[in-house]
C-alpha cells in the first residue's frame, strides 16, 4: 500500500453521513448507514469489503447516480441533493468519469466514438472530439483500434476504451466498480497499471470499489466497508 501523493489535499468530493435503504420485497434493506467519506484531488481510494457491504451503493451515491435517503454529497463544495436531474447530469458529465465492471460501451459506436460521446454532450466540436478521442485511446494503448466497434474488441481492450471514455472530459474523479473483475489476471494488471499511471500523470482522483487485492495494493487509501458502515480507513 503506497502513501498519498499530497498531504491534506482539499476534498473534491465529499459524502457526509449518507444513508441509503432499498426495498426488497416486503423488507427494507439498509445498504449504507451514516457513512462519511471525502476524496481529495489526485487520490486513489479503494473501497473494499464483502458482497453486500455497500461499496457499489456508496459509489452510486457519490457518483450522483442515486440520491441518499439521508445525508449530503458535495461536489467541489456544492451540495448535490438540491440539484435537479439536468444539473446532476451536467455535474457527472463535467466532473466525473465512470468505469463499469461490464465495460458498458455503446455497441453501435466505434471505440473513438464511445470516447467522443461525453465530449459531444459537452458541446466539443467534431474535429476536436476526434483528435482528443484518438489521443486518449493512444494514451491507454489502443489508438490503432479507434475505428473498431466494441464487439470486436477483447475484454481488456474494452476496459481500456471505457477508461479513455471516463477521462474524456477531464474529470476530477473517476469511479470504477469492480473494473478488473471481468478481466484475466494479466489484463487486470495492465489495466491497474494504467489507472495508476493516469492517476499520477493527470492528477485524477480514482474511487475504486473492489474485491481485488491488487487494486488494494495500489491504492493511496483503503476504505473498509462492512454491513453498510466504514470499519476503518487506512492510508
Amino acid at each position: 500500500m503506497s502513501a498519498p501523493r499530497q498531504s491534506s489535499p482539499p476534498p473534491v468530493l465529499e459524502a457526509e453521513s449518507v444513508s441509503k435503504s432499498y426495498r426488497l420485497g416486503a423488507s427494507l434493506v439498509t445498504a449504507i448507514q451514516d457513512v462519511s467519506l471525502s476524496v481529495a484531488s489526485g487520490e486513489l481510494i479503494a473501497l473494499k469489503g464483502p458482497s453486500g457491504s455497500g461499496k457499489t451503493t456508496l459509489l452510486n451515491l457519490m457518483g450522483l447516480l442515486d440520491r441518499p435517503d439521508r445525508g449530503v454529497v458535495r461536489v467541489g463544495g456544492v451540495e448535490a441533493e438540491g440539484l435537479d436531474e439536468n444539473a446532476r447530469s451536467d455535474l457527472r458529465r463535467d466532473q466525473f468519469g465512470f468505469v463499469f465492471q461490464g465495460f458498458n460501451l455503446i455497441p453501435v459506436l466505434s471505440a473513438a466514438e464511445n470516447v467522443s460521446y461525453p465530449m459531444a454532450l459537452k458541446g466539443v466540436g467534431r474535429q476536436e472530439r476526434r483528435r482528443r478521442a484518438i489521443e486518449l485511446l493512444e494514451s491507454v494503448g489502443i489508438g490503432h483500434k479507434h475505428a473498431v466497434r466494441p464487439d470486436l474488441l477483447s475484454g481488456g481492450e474494452r476496459q481500456r476504451v471505457a477508461i479513455a471514455r471516463a477521462l474524456a472530459n477531464g474529470p476530477r474523479v473517476v469511479f470504477a466498480d469492480e473494473a478488473t473483475a471481468n478481466l484475466d489476471s494479466h489484463t487486470a494488471d495492465e489495466v491497474l497499471g494504467l489507472v495508476r499511471r493516469l492517476n499520477e500523470s493527470q492528477g485524477v482522483a480514482f474511487l475504486l470499489a473492489t474485491h481485488d487485492p491488487r487494486v488494494v495494493a495500489r491504492a493511496h487509501r483503503v476504505v473498509h466497508l462492512h454491513d453498510g458502515r466504514i470499519l476503518d480507513q487506512a492510508p
Binding site: E85, R93, N104, L121
Partner: protein, 406 residues
Amino acid sequence: MNAFSLAYRNLARQRRRTLLIEAVVAFGFAALALATGFMIQSFDSLRAAMIQQIGHLQVMHPSAATNSEETTLEFGIPHAVRARALAATVPSVVAVLPRIEWVGLVTNGTRSVPYLGLGVDPGPEFAATRQRELVVEGSYLQGDGGDEIVMGTGLARALGVRTGDQLTLLASTVDGSLNAVDVRVRGLLAIPIKELNDRTLVGGITLVSQLLHSEGTVSKLVVFLRSERDLEAASAALAVRLAPIGPVAIVPWRTIAVFYSQVRLLYIAIFGFVNTVLVLMVVLSAAIVMTMAVAERTREVGTLRALGTRPARIRNTFLAEGVLIALAGSIAGLVLALAVRAALNASGIILPPPPGAAVGMPIHVGLYPSAYLFGLAVMVGTMLLASFFPARRAAHLSIVEALTHV
C-alpha cells in the same frame, strides 16, 4: 453525434425488427394516401357533377331562398332577358341559364300524372349541364324547344308514352287561372334519382311562358363561372350589376347543394373511421416495437445517463427513432401507393354511378400531393405518439436500476 445519428445506428443494429415496423408504416402510409386520394377524387367528381347541375351561383328572388311559392312564379325574377344580359357582362361568367320551375298535371287523354316542370333555354342548357348525358331515348330539345318536351323515363312509363307521342300539360298560370298546352315527347331522360325520374318534365322557356302566362319572368338564373375560385368576386360583381332590376339573392352552389354537404360529411366520417383504425394499428405495432427497444437497451440508457446525458436527450433519441421509421416507412409507402394506384387505374373496374350521374365510372385514383403529404404527417405523428411513452419511460429510468438491468 446528434439524436438522429444515434437513432439511425440503433435502428440499423435491429435490422429485421426495423424492417418489420417500417413495413407496417409503409402499408399504413399507402392505405392512408390512397384512401385520402380516392376521397378527394370523389369530392371533386361530386362537386363537378353538382355544379354542372345547379351552376356555381343562382340568382333568385330574396324570398325564394327561404320560402316556398304559394302560386306559380310568386317569387320569380321579372325582366329575365335584361337580367340575363346584365349577368353575362361579369367577366368571369361563362353562361347564364334561365330556368322556370313549376308544377302541374300531364295527361295523355286517358291518364293524368302530376309533374315537376323545368323550363330551360335548350341550347345553352344542353351545352353547360349534364342533361345531355341523361338522354336514353330520342334526343334533347332543339332551338327554343318549340312545342316539344323531354321527360324522365319513370314519368313516361307512368303515362305509357314514347318519343313522338302527344301529351297535354296543365298548370296554374301566374294569375291563378288554369291553362293547357299540347306538346310532343322528343326524348326520355334516365334521371338517377327515382323520385325525380318519376316526375320531371323539361320544356323550352317559350313553351313554358305560354303555359304559365309568365312572359319575361323566370324562377332563377343559373350562373356558370370560369372557375370556382371566381365565386366570391363574381357574386359581388353580380350583386352590383343586377341592382337595377330590383332585389335579388345570389346564392352559392354549396348553400343549395345540401345533398353534397351531407354526402361529403358521410365520406369524411367513413374515411375518418377507416383512417383511425389504420392509425391505431400502426400506433399499437410501433408502441410494442419501441417498448421492446427501450427494454432491450435499458442498461445502455443507464450508461448514457451515467455519462451525463440529460433525460430529454435520451427521450429525443427514441423519438428520433420513431421519426426515422416514419420517414423511411413513408418513402416505401409512397412507392407502394404509386404502384397500387397504377394497378387500380389500369384495372378498368367500374364504380357505381356517383350521385347525380347516370352511369358508373371506371375507377381512377387521382395523384394528389396533399394526400401524400397528409399520409406523411399522419405517419410521423403516429410514430411520435407511439414512441413518446416508451421514450419518456426511458428518460426517467432510475440510473442505478437501469445499470443493473439484465
